[in-house]
């Protein structure tokens, strides 16, 4: 590195020949790159005894603000020890720079913040969760108020952004959702094949794959992919708009940000998610079917005949009916987190992470609640 090969600043003790006063001679470049080793040397330097000290700067080849600060700091600490320090031989421009640094001296130490106690941390964390929940609920409330107003005046519903969002969150998600649920169907059939073969119940593979995909996995999988794909995008988009004050700009021109930014996204997802779920139902079952034929010798025709008997309409409907609820969760959490962004680029990243984690968490919790409710309703 250049810093090592460059000339280094030095300070050497000596005695002035004429007067015999102790003299410290500074030499070399006292610059930000020249003082790296000097700093450590100064720490361990044993200053010669004597109340009077002369610092001779005539051999100093360069001085910048960092070097001047180090010199000033050294002089100040010597003076604190009760010595009187005199500078000599400093070039006029160096002297004026030193003067400038001395005049601008400030307390470098920032305010020391004591680490909060364990109890305080727990309290703060709990309080922030409470505030977050309240904030989320009020955001949901506001959004539904806006939705209500829009429904009263259907001309205010912005179809163009809704269609645009459907394209981005729905149509463009077809390959990835389709592929993943296809693979999921294969995995379930593969895992089930062994067990079923043991009982000679090969044909029940259709029950296993069909029920698992249609009732649970397909809506859940779709919601999780959409949360990662679109929910995070919503947070990043709204968050960046918050940083660049675009949200404030919208308010000043009399547009409710929720109406322009949240409603189209939410409505688009509500429309698109059930459709995606139906689509992943098909691809998932297709995956299972292919596996059933190759591993269990269950032909497509037999599989489909069995599927028809095994899957009641209610199983299919319960699966698809979850989708709009998941859509709402993903859209609302994504947008809410976007609005929570404050000022910095780092905050955008944090909120995006939170958005994905929380929406997946809420989707799974809601799915569990659905299971309980459907069980009670005997669906």
């Amino acid at each position: 590195m250049t810093a090592d090969t460059m000339a280094q600043a030095t300070i050497e003790a000596g005695r002035a020949p004429a007067t015999g006063v102790v003299e410290m001679r500074c030499a070399g470049p006292w610059t930000v790159r020249g003082i790296a080793q000097l700093e450590q040397r100064l720490e361990g330097l044993s200053w010669p005894p004597g109340r009077e000290l002369v610092i001779d700067g005539s051999a100093m080849s360069a001085l910048d603000t960092s070097g001047a600060w180090l010199l000033h700091r050294t002089v100040r600490s010597l003076e604190k020890q009760g010595r009187s320090v005199r500078m000599q031989g400093l070039r006029p421009e160096f002297a004026s720079l030193l003067q400038l640094i001395t005049s601008r001296e400030v307390a470098a130490q920032g305010p020391v913040v004591a680490a909060p106690s364990m109890l305080a941390k727990v309290g703060e964390e709990a309080w922030s969760i409470v505030l977050g929940t309240m904030g989320y609920l009020s955001f949901v409330g506001e959004t539904f108020t806006v939705l209500f107003h829009s429904l009263l005046q259907p001309s205010r519903i912005r179809w163009r952004p809704i269609l645009h969002n459907m394209q981005i969150a729905g149509v463009e998600a077809l390959p990835i959702t389709g592929l993943l649920s296809f693979l999921m169907g294969i995995v379930i059939a593969y895992q089930g094949a062994d067990q079923l073969q043991r009982f000679g119940a090969n044909v029940f593979i259709a029950d296993l794959v069909g029920l698992a995909m249609l009732r649970e996995l397909s809506p859940l999988l779709t919601a999780i992919i959409i949360a990662g794909r679109s929910g995070s995008a919503y947070t990043a988009q709204i968050g960046t708009m918050k940083v660049t004050e675009e949200i404030d700009a919208l308010r000043t021109i009399g547009v409710v940000p929720q109406e322009l930014l949240v409603l189209p996204k939410m409505l688009a997802l509500i429309i698109v998610m059930p459709l995606l779920t139906v689509y992943t139902d098909v691809t998932g079952v297709l995956g299972g079917m292919i596996m059933a034929q190759s591993k269990l010798d269950v032909s497509f025709k037999v599989f489909l005949d069995r599927l028809d008997e095994a899957i009641s309409l209610s199983s299919y409907v319960t699966g698809v009916s979850k989708a709009p609820v998941f859509a709402m969760i993903v859209a609302l959490v994504g947008c809410y987190r976007g609005f929570q962004v404050t000022g910095s680029a780092e905050s955008v990243g944090q909120q995006t992470t939170l958005s994905v984690v929380q929406s997946i968490f809420l989707v799974i919790v809601t799915d569990a609640m659905f299971s309980v409710v459907f069980n009670i309703l005997d669906l």
Partner: protein
């Protein structure tokens, strides 16, 4: 005013020769030549879209040049790789138009980050040096622990300047140092730029629209127009220029007000 009497001498710090720049089919520069001498405050002006900021970005290796030569500290920067540019980059500081402070770091953090990256000094000394830089730019001491989003526009510019000064550069590039500031803060920046040059011996190249800043701080000014330099000189020299583009720039209503203001100040002092 001592600024206009400063002689333009010594080895040039920046030498731009015959620079051509194109964005697709749009030609921005068609043979631009400028020379910046040590310890000079050199300003680049021109109407919108004349490629002032582009030229500055080319000099600091953020933008490629179609043809021509740009020498900074005697080294050709056109076509230079990042590896070779590192030693040069340590010798200059850049203040961006909108500050470009790292939003995740405090003001102190923005300055110390540069020092930590390029020096082997102790944490304590780095913190102290950062505080000195922040104080040098005229920010109050309590600005250090604040985040960029908590600062006003003027303070953000000063914080950005403090970061540009972190490694004690010899050359400072300022992109629109007073843009978006109120007149009082802008005047503060004028004075700051001059005092930094005087006390630290910096060479400063800036791009600006601010006529007051030009009259108060710039030693020499180059006017860009039609892809080339249409006039170079002190503000007094330029104000006598016959070039229509220069006259248009300095003799609009705002130009006249700023020059009258400058004359008044001169006659008072």
């Amino acid at each position: 005013m001592r600024t206009s009497e400063r002689p333009a001498s010594g080895e040039p710090v920046i030498e731009v020769r015959g620079v051509h720049t194109r964005f697709g089919s749009a030609v921005v520069h068609e043979g631009v030549d400028i020379t910046v001498y040590p310890q000079e405050i050199f300003a680049l002006v021109g109407g919108s879209g004349t490629g002032k900021s582009t030229l500055l970005r080319e000099a600091i290796l953020l933008q490629p040049v179609a043809s021509g030569s740009i020498r900074v500290f005697g080294e050709e920067v056109v076509g230079m790789g990042d590896e070779e540019a590192l030693p040069l980059r340590r010798r200059w500081g850049v203040m961006f138009e909108r500050g470009a402070l790292f939003s995740a770091l405090t003001v102190t953090g923005n300055v110390t980050m540069v020092l930590q990256e390029h020096t082997e000094l102790s944490e304590k000394l780095i913190d102290e040096i950062a505080a000195v830089k922040i104080a040098l730019t005229g920010l109050p001491a309590d600005a250090g622990p604040k985040y960029p989003s908590e600062l006003s526009g003027g303070m953000r510019k000063r914080a950005s300047l403090a970061r540009a000064l972190a490694l004690d550069p010899e050359l400072l590039f300022l992109d629109e140092p007073t843009a978006g500031l109120d007149p009082l803060s802008a005047t503060g920046i004028d004075e700051l730029i001059r005092s930094l040059r005087d006390s630290l011996g910096l060479t400063i190249m800036m791009v600006t629209h601010d006529l007051d800043l030009l009259w108060r701080a710039a030693d020499r000014v180059a006017v860009l127009g039609n892809g080339r330099i249409v006039g170079v000189g002190t503000m007094t020299e330029l104000s006598r220029s016959d070039d229509p583009l220069v006259r248009q720039y300095f003799y609009g209503p705002r130009g006249r007000a700023a020059s009258e203001q400058a004359w008044k100040q001169k006659s008072i002092s």
